[in-house]
Amino acid sequence: MKLPSNYNPADILLAGFSWLSGLLVLLCFGYLFADIFSNGYAHLDWQFITTAPENAGRDGGIAPMIISTTILLFFALLFSLPIGIFSAIYLAEYTSYEHRFARLLRYALNTLAAVPSIVMGMFGFAFFVIILQIGFSLLAGALTLAIMILPLLIRNIEDSLRNIPHTYRLNAAALGLSQVRTIFQILLPMAKHGIAMAVVLSVGRAMAETAALLFTAGYVMRMPDSLMDSGRSLSVHIFDLSMNVPGGEKAAYATTIVLLFSILIINAATVLLSNQITRRSPM
C-alpha cells in the first residue's frame, strides 16, 4: 500500500534508513547468491538431478537425496501442521495472555526454538530411533524435524489469528455460529496467509537442518524404498561433501543451487495453494 509522501525530517530519515537496509540486504544476499551460483553451475546439469551419486558424491548425481528430502519434508509437515494449527487455535482463541497454561506453552515453544540442532539430533536418536525402535529412518528424521518446526508454526499462526479483528468473532457469535464453526469457517480461512508464511518459514528451517538429521534419518545414499529406510537429505549431503569428502566442494555448491530452487518451488506452491483457498472462501 502506498502511503502519502511528506518531506519532514523524520520522514526522510525513515525512508533513507529503510532504503539503506533494503539495499544492504539485497547486496549482501545477492552477492551470496551469485557466489553460490558461480561456484556450482558448471557442475549442474540434468544428469546431476536424475542420477545416483558415485564416488561418495564427488561424481554422479543427487536423485536419492532429492527423494529423501521430499519425503522428510512432506511427513514433517504432515505431523506438525495439524498440531501446529490446533495449538495455535488454542492459544489465540481460547486463552488470554495471562492464562497460566498458555504462558507455559509459550515458554515451552520459545525454548524449543532454541534447542541446538545437534541436541535435537541426539534426542531424536535416543527417543525415536532407540526407545520407539523406529531405527535410522526417514520416519525418525521427519518426526524430529516436526518437533523442530513446531515453534515456528504455532507462534506465527497464533499471531495471524490474533491479528484478525475481534468484530468478526462478535458478528459470528451474534449470528449464532458455534465457536468451532467460527474457527473453521471464518477465522482459519482469514488466517491462511499467516499459515502459508508459517509453512514457508518451516520449510526453510527443515531444508536447512543438518545435525538433527545426521543422527536420525541418517547418511545412507541409497534410494529409499520406504519410510523405514535410512536416507540422506540434501543438507546432510552438502555438509558431508564440504566437510568430510576431499574434493567434494563443486558438487556441494551444485547441490546448494538445487536446494535453493526447490525451496523457491515449494514456497511458490504454498502461496499459490493459500491463494486458491482465498478465492473459494466465503470471505
Partner: protein, 285 residues
C-alpha cells in the same frame, strides 16, 4: 450432538494437542539431564563457574566463558538483524516498487533455508579474511555475529513483512485521510499494531541464533576465553558440543550435554524476561 457439546469436545481436543510441544520439551530436558547426570554426580554443578579452565580430559570443566560467548553472539546478531530486517520490511511494504519488494521477499525465503555449513564456509572465505586484514586472527566474536546476522535476517524480515501486511486497512485509510505524515503513520499507527508480531520474530529468531552451531563454529575461533574485544575468538556452548562430541567419552561427553542443558536454561530465563516485558501490552489487548 448439540453445538455446545462439540465446542467443549473441540476445546479438550486442542488442549490435548497443545500438550505435544510441552511434552516434547520436557522429554528433551529429561534426556539432557539424564545424559549430564554423570558429570553432576562427580563434581558439584558450580564447578562450571569456578574451574580454572575447560580441559575436560584433565577434569576441568569451566563453562562460564562459553555461556557469555553464546549470549554475546546472540545479542550482537539480533541487535543488527532486528533493525535491518524491520526496516527492509517497511521498505518493501511502503516505499519500494513492487518488483523490488518481490525480489527481496523471494531472496529472504530462499535464504531462510540454506544449510548453516554454506554460511559457515562463506564466512571463512569472505568475512574472516576481511576482518583478519584489519585485526588478526579474523576468527572472532565479530565474525560470528556477522555470520549469525546473515542467518537470522531472513526470518526477521519475513515475519515483519507479514505482520505489516496484516495491519487493518481501515485504520490506515483513516490515518491517511487525517493527513498524518508517513513517518507518523508508521511510528504511531502501524508500529503498535505489529509490535506483537515483532516480539514473536525476535524470540523465535533469538532462539535460532543462540542454538546455531555449525556456522558459528567455523568462524568464531573457538578459544575458550572471555573476549576482551570483538576481535578476539570465542567459543559458544553449541560449538563446544559440536566440536568435541565426535570423540568425547564418559565425563567429557556428559559435560557436553551439560553445555546443552545450560543453554536451554539460559533460553528459559530469556523467555521469561521476554514474557514479562510483553505483559503490560497484554492489558490493552
Amino acid at each position: 450432538m448439540p453445538p455446545r457439546c462439540i465446542d467443549n469436545l473441540f476445546l479438550r481436543f486442542i488442549q490435548l494437542v497443545s500438550l505435544v510441544s510441552i511434552v516434547s520439551l520436557l522429554f528433551i530436558i529429561f534426556f539432557l539431564v539424564k545424559e549430564s547426570y554423570l558429570i553432576v554426580q562427580e563434581k558439584p554443578i558450580l564447578t562450571v563457574f569456578t574451574d580454572p579452565a575447560w580441559h575436560p580430559l584433565d577434569g576441568q570443566f569451566l563453562l562460564l566463558p562459553m555461556m557469555v560467548g553464546s549470549l554475546l553472539i546472540m545479542l550482537g546478531a539480533m541487535l543488527i538483524a532486528l533493525p535491518i530486517g524491520l526496516l527492509t520490511a517497511i521498505l518493501c511494504r511502503y516505499y519500494a516498487p513492487r518488483w523490488f519488494a518481490t525480489i527481496i521477499q523471494r531472496l529472504m525465503e530462499v535464504f531462510a533455508g540454506i544449510p548453516a555449513v554454506v554460511y559457515g564456509f562463506w564466512g571463512v572465505m569472505v568475512i574472516v579474511p576481511a576482518i583478519a586484514a584489519w585485526q588478526a586472527p579474523g576468527t572472532s566474536l565479530l565474525a560470528g555475529i556477522l555470520v549469525l546476522t546473515f542467518i537470522v535476517t531472513p526470518g526477521v524480515t519475513i515475519i515483519s513483512y507479514h505482520n505489516l501486511s496484516q495491519v487493518n486497512q481501515t485504520l490506515l485509510h483513516s490515518a491517511i485521510a487525517l493527513g498524518l505524515s508517513r513517518y507518523n503513520i508508521i511510528r504511531h499507527i502501524i508500529f503498535p499494531e505489529v509490535k506483537h508480531g515483532l516480539i514473536t520474530a525476535t524470540t523465535l529468531q533469538s532462539g535460532r541464533a543462540i542454538g546455531e552451531t555449525l556456522a558459528v563454529l567455523m568462524v568464531c575461533g573457538n578459544v575458550v576465553q572471555l573476549p576482551g574485544s570483538v576481535f578476539e575468538p570465542i567459543r559458544t556452548l553449541t560449538s563446544n558440543i559440536a566440536l568435541e562430541m565426535a570423540y568425547a567419552m564418559d565425563t567429557h561427553r556428559s559435560a557436553l550435554f551439560l553445555s546443552g542443558l545450560l543453554l536451554l536454561l539460559i533460553v528459559l530465563v530469556l523467555a521469561f524476561i521476554a514474557e514479562s516485558m510483553q505483559k503490560p501490552k497484554a492489558e490493552s489487548q
